[in-house]
Symmetry: C2
Subunit: 149 residues, 2 copies
Amino acid sequence: MPEPMDIAFEAAEAASKRGEVPVGAVVLGPDGQVLAVAGNEVEAGDPTAHAEILALRAAAAKLGRPRLEGCELVVTLEPCSMCATAISHARIKRLVFAAYDPKGGGVEHGPRMYRQPTCHHRPEVVGGVQAEKAEMLLKQFFAGLRAES
Amino acid sequence: MPEPMDIAFEAAEAASKRGEVPVGAVVLGPDGQVLAVAGNEVEAGDPTAHAEILALRAAAAKLGRPRLEGCELVVTLEPCSMCATAISHARIKRLVFAAYDPKGGGVEHGPRMYRQPTCHHRPEVVGGVQAEKAEMLLKQFFAGLRAES
């Protein structure tokens, strides 16, 4: 069975082929089973359709409840503040991400959401897993956009 | 025609009847036309289904694009960090909210999202519109929950 981060990379690469910023996310159940996989779908017409939001929604639909206690979210890029807060609302136990995002990240950068006193649920965070691969994927995508314009 | 905040209150009251925290949101187009109305749907099984997120998604679907330049979002409660960031991602021009939320708000409380240096789009913000009505609605809802438990 592929590693969860590799599944997230596959979703990121598929997103890139659709013209979406290449980010992919996976939600794992408490037993490590894959509950949901998603890639970015913003350009398809939904400003909230980051990979993490789509994966959280799909996992919640699968479990039939809005809170995903004991679940893990694996994503190829440091979540933005929207997604970091959604991960907290969903009671995700553990967040694993690949590349750090100094410009748009909200976990280890910007507002550092889980360090805010008003944050009611803080997941365990592991950042930098296969970071170089994720950075390369993003660089290639944005270099392609610049070449087109 | 009812005022946008009154439409948002109707959606909040409908949410309350479904057992959801009573918050309602409306997105208005650049011409002031109502593009989308939504109430909270979290307990129905989606941790990201705050009224604002649902209204943004519906408005984007209606316009067929993810960025809602020139649009306004009207909501009965100060948005949380997830929704505040989503409002920024969606390029909403103006945010109007009723009650302030010192515990969960992310606009004038907590991380104050639009004052973060990494925030790339800052809407105009008007808070406190019909705040007492929204506070009363929330108080009644939570008092009802306590009476049940």
